[in-house]
């Protein structure tokens, strides 16, 4: 009995201490002098987005190092403050995202947020961030839908999904006006639908004929029924895919069913080295819209020409910092996440405040270029300044082929046939 009483007292003490501590932290907001700026994010380090989440983490870390070590920190009220990046593994799950965003805001008391990777996870996190008045920049979340919900504090660094494949269509129309028949075969998820909705509308506007337009559920193990049907429509070009595994599957089965077309543009999957390693010569000539690629021509000079301010490391410096942490080249997932931190740094320095409303206003006014590209958002938070590039696998290298100002090589068109590729023909002059 006595022991039980002592236990109760001890537990009560812990409880009261915790309560006190919590209260102290609450009241401390705004009054304690900020000695660092904390940016938080749920990131997928396990589950289906593990690859992209890891890339995003390394990218954010690389830029954090640049801000703290090269830039000396962020200038606020006469002091240079370091950036701290706080993250948790959301396991690629919506439920985890929601509780982790809540935790980052209420327990870790981050100043700003960047979203989890992927349109559906970002959509899950947006209402929570917005209701807590926490500014969030989404990366890896191209769906237009987030910015149609009336949120006040959610902004975007990526080009939205609706503009993903429009560059590819421009490029094909420019190269071969006779190639009119387009086939869409894509994953039935938020992101892929937003890409194809945009592509379909643009294709119709530009005079293409959509001959096939069907989805497949997420994580398919076999696409052969769709592809058999697609083959009968004899398209000139194929646009589609979703994420990584299904993008590889789609390519592999187009090859095994020998669906020969003039051009193929697949979302996401062809952007990483794994794609070529897994598919080998089958990957030759396959194109992918990219948010960013090593070799794009964003620089202080390009910024000057476009009348924009420049902030942040050069592409090479970013790649160097990234390589130090990751021991490989950065993908666009890494670059996009890193760019979010740069945008916040610049916004804080210009607004000279950490207040969410002031920062959101500054993000809206800000027009700048960094190694990732242009930042210019509309009043809904949607990105309007950043543009996609189109990359193509040519002789084992993924090269930017569009737009001409960013291109490192000429487009290889039309695609070699699958049989030619099997005999070793590469997509290079």
């Amino acid at each position: 009995m006595k022991r039980a009483r002592v236990l109760c007292v001890v537990i009560a003490m812990f409880f009261l201490t915790g309560l006190n501590y919590g209260c102290a932290r609450q009241s401390g907001v705004g009054q304690q002098a900020a000695d660092k700026i904390v940016i938080g994010a749920p990131l997928s380090l396990s589950g289906k987005y593990a690859k992209e989440g890891q890339m995003a983490l390394w990218g954010a870390e690389a830029i954090r190092r640049w801000i703290n070590e090269v830039n000396g920190g962020i200038e606020l009220s006469g002091k240079k403050l370091p950036v701290e990046f706080k993250y948790y593994d959301d396991e690629s799950k919506k439920e985890s995202v929601q509780s982790l965003v809540e935790r980052l805001i209420t327990v870790d008391k981050v100043d700003f947020l960047i979203s989890p990777y992927s349109s559906d996870l970002a959509l899950a996190s947006a209402p929570i961030a917005d209701s807590h008045r926490k500014v969030m920049i989404t990366h890896g979340a191209a769906t237009d839908r987030v910015y149609q919900q009336g949120y006040k504090y959610i902004t975007q660094v990526y080009t939205p999904g609706s503009r993903y494949q429009t560059g590819f269509l421009d490029m094909i129309k420019n190269k071969d006006p006779e190639a009119k028949k387009a086939a869409f075969i894509y994953e039935d998820d938020e992101f892929s639908r937003s890409v194809i909705n945009g592509a379909r509308a643009y294709a119709n506007k530009q005079g293409f004929e959509v001959v096939f337009d069907k989805t497949y559920p997420s994580k398919p193990t076999d696409l052969s029924p769709l592809i058999q049907e697609l083959k009968t429509t004899k398209p000139d070009l194929i646009i589609g895919g979703g994420h990584f595994a299904d993008g590889q599957l789609l390519t592999e089965q187009l090859s095994s069913l020998e669906v020969n077309v003039k051009a193929v543009s697949i979302n996401v999957a062809p952007a990483i080295p794994d794609y070529y390693k897994a598919l080998g010569v089958k990957a030759e000539g396959i194109m992918c819209p990219g948010q960013w690629e090593m070799g794009v021509k964003y620089s202080p000079e390009a910024a000057g020409k476009a009348g924009l301010e420049w902030f942040g490391p050069s592409q090479e410096d970013f790649a160097g910092l990234f390589n130090a942490a990751a021991n490989q080249k950065p993908s666009y997932h890494a670059a996009g996440a890193g760019a979010c931190l740069l945008i916040y740094a610049r916004a804080v320095e210009k607004a000279q405040s950490l207040d969410p409303d002031k920062i959101r206003e500054e993000l809206g006014k800000l027009k700048m270029m960094n190694f990732f590209g242009t930042w210019d958002i509309d009043e809904t938070g949607k990105q309007t300044g950043h543009n996609m590039v189109v990359t193509q696998w040519q002789a084992g290298e993924n090269i930017v082929v569009w737009p001409p100002e960013a291109a490192g090589a000429k487009l290889f068109y039309p695609l070699p046939s699958w049989a030619e590729k099997a005999r070793g023909t590469l997509a290079k002059e």
Partner: protein, 296 residues
């Protein structure tokens, strides 16, 4: 349209054979040990990685990898049995369910730790056969024939060998088997190991069907399908599982052609609905599954 239907049905048969073999392992473990292996898909993933690494590092073809995968499966199965499963005989079903679920997650994260989350693939392209209505690659033909061959070998093993008969005896009448001098624990260990070995081997065959997209998290899709097929075939019967695999593959792919002729419908997403609806119907008519009812 008939060309497409024929093509879809053919691919359904090939895929179904692979699904069927994969599910045999699940049914065997449940039939003998009454344990539901919720981590089923992760063992298929191990088989897929085996095929990938053997080909990439040592240029061993998937045919050779089948034997290696089988041995790996036996070893892994025995380790898991003696470290985890044995301690759980007689435990409530929820406990064994949780144990196999946790084991599956553990294997997945181990795979990610050692091999990374990257999406792997390999290229063992032997060409294809032009059947007129579709193109069938030789690797898929191998997948079909090998699935059937392995299933048949296992059947013979159960019928003709002492160990096989011992397993059947334990399933039929555990007490009677003990009285006859059969070491029931060893039978359990062997059955579990064999079930895992079949599952890992089917992972190699999965890569013959699709040699790309191999990653630590690929197993989950197969687990769900395996459960459906196992129930369809009668939970106690590995042979039922094998036949049910064919039916599942045929339904999944065949229904596409029918659904795509309905205007305004997204056929592929509906194939899953249709397959599950048919499963429900079959279970309503025959609740023990196609070959269930009596332990086989």
């Amino acid at each position: 349209m008939f060309d497409q239907l024929a093509g879809n049905l053919l691919f359904g048969i090939v895929l179904g054979a692979v699904y069927g073999l994969a599910t045999m392992g699940l049914s065997l473990i449940f039939g003998v040990l009454k344990i539901v292996n919720v981590g089923h898909g992760q063992f298929i993933m191990i088989g897929a990685y085996t095929a990938f690494w053997m080909f990439t590092l040592y240029k061993i073809s998937p045919l050779g990898s089948l034997f290696i995968a089988f041995i790996i499966g036996l070893a892994v199965g025995l380790i898991i049995f003696y470290t985890i499963i044995k301690r759980l005989t007689g435990a409530p079903e929820l406990t064994t369910l949780l144990a196999t679920f946790a084991t599956g997650i553990f294997i997945e994260e181990l795979a990610k730790f050692f091999w990374g989350p990257d999406y792997r693939g390999y290229n063992w392209d032997l060409g294809r056969v032009d059947l007129g209505f579709t193109l069938l690659s030789y690797s898929k033909i191998y997948a079909l024939l090998l699935s059937i061959a392995i299933a048949f070998l296992i059947y013979l093993w159960f019928q003709k060998t002492k160990l096989g008969m011992a397993i059947r005896a334990v399933v039929e009448d555990r007490q009677g088997a003990m009285v006859c001098g059969i070491d029931v624990q060893k039978v359990y260990a062997l059955s579990f190991a064999l079930g895992i070995a079949l599952t890992v081997t089917s992972g190699v065959l999965v890569t013959l069907f699709v040699p790309v997209g191999i990653n630590p998290y690929m197993g989950h899709e197969y687990t769900l399908k395996a459960f459906v097929i196992a129930v369809l075939g009668g939970l106690f019967s590995p042979w039922g599982a094998f036949y049910a695999g064919f039916i599942f593959g045929l339904l999944e792919n065949g229904s596409y052609t029918v659904l795509s002729s309905i205007p305004g419908v997204e056929p592929f997403s509906l194939t899953r609905t249709v397959t599950f609806l048919v499963l429900l119907l079959i279970l309503l008519i025959k609740p023990d599954g196609l070959l269930g009812g009596k332990n086989k």
